[in-house]
Amino acid sequence: MVPHEWMVKPMRQTEWIDGRGLLVWLAEVFSALGTGLYLVSLFVDSWWGALVGWILIVLFKLPFHLFYLGKPLRFWRAIPPFTKAWRTSWMARGMFFTLMFALFAAIQLVTTYLLRHDVLATSAVDTINVLDWAVKILGGLFAVLTGMYAGFAMSYCKSIPFWNTGLLPIVFVIMGVADGMALVMGVGLIGNGIDINALEAASRVALIINALLIMTYLVNASYQSTTAGLSVRELIVGRVAAAFWIGIVLLGITIPLAISIVSLFAGEASRPLLVIAIVCHTVGAFALKYCVLKVGICRPLLPKLYAH
C-alpha cells in the first residue's frame, strides 16, 4: 500500500470553486455586487442603480446558483413552505432571502417609478407613497440578508478554519457596499442626479475600512490554526497569490483608493479615472470571492499530524 494524502494532509475544498463550482463563485460575486448596488442606490435615491442591482440578483446570481445544482428542477424543495430546513440551514435561509429581495425590490422599483413619473391619480399617491417606503425598507433589509447569508453559510463549516469565523459575513457585506458605491458611480456617469463627489468621499472611507478588515481577517486567520495559517500562506505566497495581490490588493483596493485620493486634492476626478476605478473595483470583487473560495482548506482527519 502506498500512503496517500486524502484527508491525511490538509485538503482544499473543490466543490464550490473547481469545475462547475465556478458557478458558485460567479453567483456569490453577483450577489455582493447586486445587493451592494441596490442598497447604495436606495440611499442615494438612484432608480436606475436599484434596477441594475435587482437585475444582477435575478438574472445573474439566481440562474448561476440554479445551474450549479445537481438537480436544478428540484430547487423549490429548498424554499419554505416545502422545507423546514431554514431553522438550521443557511442555504435554505439564503434562498428565502433572495426570493424575498427579488419580490420586494421589484415592487419598490414599480412604486418608485410610478411616483416619479406622476402617472398616479392624486388620491392614490399617498397610499403608493406609504407602500413605497414599506417596500424600500423590506427590500433594503432583504438585500443586506442576501448579501450576508453566503458568509454565514461558509463560516458554519467547522472543518474549514479559514471560513469558520464571524468576520466573514461582515467582510462580504462591507465589500459588497463598497462595490455598490463604485457601481452607482458608474450609473451616475451614464445618467444624472447622482452626487459623484459625495459618493467618492464615502467610497474612500469604505475602501479604507475594507483594507483594514481584510488585513484583520488575515492576521486573525494566520494564528487561528495551522490549517487557517496554511490558507493565508496560499493567499500571500501560494498558488492564489497572483489573484490576491493583483486582484484584491492592487485592483480592488490600491488603485481605486489612489484615484479617490487624487480626486480629494484635485477637487474632482476625471471621467476616465473614475471609469478605471470602477472597473478595478469590480475586478477586485471577483478576486475577493475567488480567493476566499479557493483557499478554503479542510483540516485533516488525523489531529496529531496537523493541529487544528
Partner: protein, 257 residues
C-alpha cells in the same frame, strides 16, 4: 437505540475487503467509494510507521450535514443513522463542504460512467440500478447498510450479531477488526469495547459525537492504548507493504540494529 461501529486499528490488515464488500453490496458507481482507508505515515527517522485508518460516514449524533441540508434530504433516523433521501436532494453540495470528515460524495456523470463504458450494461449492473439507482446530481455516503438492518430487524434479527442484519463491511472483515452494535446498550459488544479499550472518536472538538469509534492505536503512535507490536497485525503487514524505497531501507536498517 443508536447504531455504532468500533474499529480495531491493531487488527486491521488493510486488505480493503470492507471497501470491496460495500461496492458489491450497494452496486456503487465506478468512481464512488463509501468506506475508505487512509494510509498515514509517521517517519521518526529510525522507524517508518504506516498506519491505516478505515473511515466511513461517522453517522454523527449532531451531524452538520443534516443541519446544513436545505431540503431535509439528509436526515437522522431514530436509530441514529444519517440517511439521504435521493429524491429530495437538489445537489447543492453544501453537505459535502460542511462534513468535517469529508465522507460525502457528489455523484457526477464523471463519477458514474458505468463499469464498461461503451458497452451494454451487464445483468448485474441492471439489477444494481434497480435496487440502488445512484442518481447523478445527488450526494451519497455510507448508510451503515440501513437496508440490511431494517430487513434483518423486521425478521427479529439483531444487527451486529446476526449476519443478515449486519453491515456488509463488518461481515466481510477477515481480521474481525469491525464490530457493530447498539451504542446506547451498555451491555453491547461495541459499548464494552469502547469502555474497556478506551475507544476514541475522530475530531471530537467539532462536537459532532461520531458513532464510529477506534480502539487499540492512538493517533500519532502515542504509547498509551497502543497494542503491543507483536499483536499488531497491521504492524506486521507494514514490512510487506509497498512503502517507498527510502522507507524500505529504514525498515530493514532498524531490524538489523
Amino acid at each position: 437505540m443508536r447504531w455504532g461501529m468500533v474499529i480495531n486499528l491493531a487488527k486491521c490488515t488493510r486488505c480493503h475487503a470492507c471497501v470491496a464488500a460495500c461496492r458489491v453490496e450497494h452496486f456503487l458507481p465506478l468512481h464512488v467509494t463509501w468506506p475508505r482507508l487512509i494510509a498515514y505515515e509517521v517517519d521518526s527517522g529510525a522507524k517508518v510507521d504506516v498506519s491505516t485508518y478505515p473511515v466511513r460516514c461517522n453517522q454523527c449524533k449532531d451531524a452538520p450535514c443534516v443541519k446544513v441540508c436545505p431540503t431535509e434530504a439528509s436526515h437522522q433516523r431514530a436509530d441514529g443513522i444519517v440517511a439521504i433521501d435521493s429524491n429530495k436532494c437538489i445537489g447543492c453540495r453544501y453537505c459535502v463542504v460542511a462534513c468535517p470528515y469529508q465522507n460525502r460524495t457528489f455523484v457526477s456523470k464523471a463519477k458514474n460512467p458505468g463499469y464498461f463504458p461503451g458497452f451494454p450494461e451487464t445483468k448485474f449492473e441492471k439489477k444494481g440500478k434497480k435496487i440502488y439507482p445512484h442518481q447523478v446530481g445527488t450526494t451519497e455516503k455510507c448508510n451503515f447498510c440501513a437496508e440490511r438492518i431494517d430487513a434483518g430487524t423486521e425478521r427479529g434479527l439483531t444487527p451486529g450479531v446476526d449476519r443478515d442484519a449486519t453491515p456488509a463491511c463488518v461481515n466481510t472483515c477477515q481480521a474481525r477488526a469491525l464490530t457493530f452494535g447498539d451504542l446506547d446498550d451498555p451491555d453491547s459488544e461495541v459499548s464494552r469495547l469502547i469502555r474497556e479499550r478506551d475507544g476514541f472518536q475522530l475530531r471530537t472538538e467539532y462536537g459532532t459525537d461520531p458513532s464510529v469509534y477506534y480502539i487499540d492505536y492512538k493517533l500519532g503512535g502515542a504509547l498509551s492504548n497502543k497494542a503491543p507490536e507483536c499483536d499488531q497485525t497491521g504492524s506486521h503487514m507494514q514490512e510487506l507493504s509497498s512503502v517507498d524505497a527510502d522507507a524500505q531501507k529504514k525498515l530493514v536498517g532498524s531490524k538489523k540494529s
